[in-house]
């Protein structure tokens, strides 16, 4: 979208080995950019990718990827399909797919995601919940719709049914 005569900051493939300040994203898919000296207040909703370098108060929601850059201050709940966090977030984060938290990130709030990657040095204070847990949490009922399922072998279930059937007849 931007064409600067100097070398571009963008590159095509995201990598976790690079410095968090130069986190990469595809140039063509960038749709909304909040600059470092911009303040956004309210329900910040977008259909495309969002890159935040400034401050946001309220809520951030997108059906695609949100990049919260180093130096960004988010005082809002974040909801996105994917997220890469390098800045400060005060609020709950709900990511449908992949959440990447880089070493410069600071999060105060609950995190919910399907897949999580955290770099050493990231600061998180809050509850992290993820789908797909196979361990029974003592004292808690298993959530309906959770991916965790105990699969009994077919033979076992058959034998249980037979036993149950006997009990009924008695």
């Amino acid at each position: 979208m931007f064409q600067k005569p100097s070398a571009s900051n963008f590159s095509s493939s995201p990598s976790f080995d690079e410095e968090p300040t130069r986190h990469t994203y595809e140039q063509d898919s960038v749709e909304t950019v909040v600059g470092p000296s911009m303040n956004v207040e309210g329900d910040f909703t977008s259909e495309g990718n969002i890159i935040i370098k400034g401050s946001v108060t309220g809520s951030v929601e997108t059906s695609q990827t949100v990049h919260i850059e180093q130096g960004a201050r988010i005082n809002a709940s974040v909801k996105a399909a994917n997220a890469v966090i390098s800045g400060q977030v005060k609020g709950n984060i709900r990511v449908a797919e992949k959440l990447e938290i880089t070493s410069s990130a600071q999060i105060l709030g609950d995190v919910y995601c399907s897949s999580l990657a955290v770099q050493p040095g990231a600061l998180i204070q809050g509850k992290i919940s993820m789908d797909g847990l196979d361990i029974d949490v003592p004292g808690e009922k298993r959530r309906v719709g959770a991916r965790a399922r105990t699969r009994r072998p077919v033979e076992d279930t058959m034998s249980l049914e037979e036993e149950g059937g006997d009990e009924d007849t008695v």
Binding site: K4, P36, N39, V40, T45, S46
Partner: protein
């Protein structure tokens, strides 16, 4: 029936050869028509409305970006198909529409690939190419959902529809320091906040980008608004996207 609106600058002798070649090619294709020359005080809307009444089906604008903006900002309400024959320098919109500059545009015109174009609406008039607010104390509200303001006050706003916008740090420099290209099918606001003052000039940040359908710009003081080369002073403007407002003949190589 085709009607051709020629800009006044095409009277210059240096364009005679191109105009002749274009007219010959149009005759070859059988799409030659009535030629009207626009003057400074000609109302494009009145001219086009008259010609539609007389049976014009296609109105072709002949000139550059300024001609295109000037005619369509007034004639967007007219129910007809528009064409564009770019001639001479300052033709950036033609590239977006996929129309070659000069005689090659006649081929595009004869192929009649018609699409509905989105245009911008500002307060009580349409704008085709771009809207520009030079650095001012403004606050922007998007789609009645969120407000955007700058930490240090002043902001420059550019809304691109069809025309790319070029930022020059030095007034006399030939190469732009920054170019913003409009994405298609949307209005896009490019906000460039001032972040400090240097010795000779103010220092600006890289632009922030917000795609939108409706935007409200307010200022405590009147600010300058330039839309399609027309300048006015406002304290509050509402910018909206008018979807599929004009039917336009475009080229295969268009950017949308």
């Amino acid at each position: 029936m085709y009607v051709y609106l020629y800009d006044n600058f095409l009277r210059q002798k240096k364009f005679d050869a191109v105009i002749k070649a274009v007219e010959t090619r149009l005759t070859d294709y059988g799409i030659a028509g009535k030629i009207l020359r626009l003057q400074h005080y000609t109302s494009a809307e009145a001219v086009i409305t008259d010609e539609i009444k007389r049976g014009a089906k296609t109105v072709v604008i002949v000139g550059n970006d300024a001609t295109f903006g000037q005619v369509l900002s007034h004639a967007a309400t007219c129910d007809t198909t528009f064409g564009f024959l770019p001639i001479g320098p300052d033709n950036t919109i033609a590239e977006v529409l996929g129309i070659p500059v000069g005689v090659g545009a006649c081929d595009m015109l004869s192929r009649r690939r018609v699409v509905a174009l989105d245009i911008g609406w500002m307060n009580n008039r349409y704008f085709i190419s771009q809207l520009h607010i030079p650095p001012s104390d403004i606050e922007v509200q998007y789609d009645e959902r969120f407000r955007v303001s700058a930490k240090y006050g002043k902001m420059e706003l550019v809304v691109c529809n069809l025309q790319p916008f070029y930022w020059f740090e030095k007034k006399r420099s030939k190469t732009p320091d920054l170019v913003v290209h409009p994405q298609d099918g949307k209005l896009e606001a490019f906000l460039r906040p001032m972040i400090g003052k240097g010795i000779f000039k103010e220092v600006y940040e890289d632009p922030s980008i917000f795609p939108f359908e409706e935007m409200l710009v307010t200022g405590s003081k009147p600010f300058v608004v330039m839309a399609d080369g027309k300048q006015s002073k406002e304290t509050k403007i509402k910018i909206r996207l008018a979807k599929g407002r004009i039917r336009m003949i475009v080229g295969k190589e268009r950017r949308f």
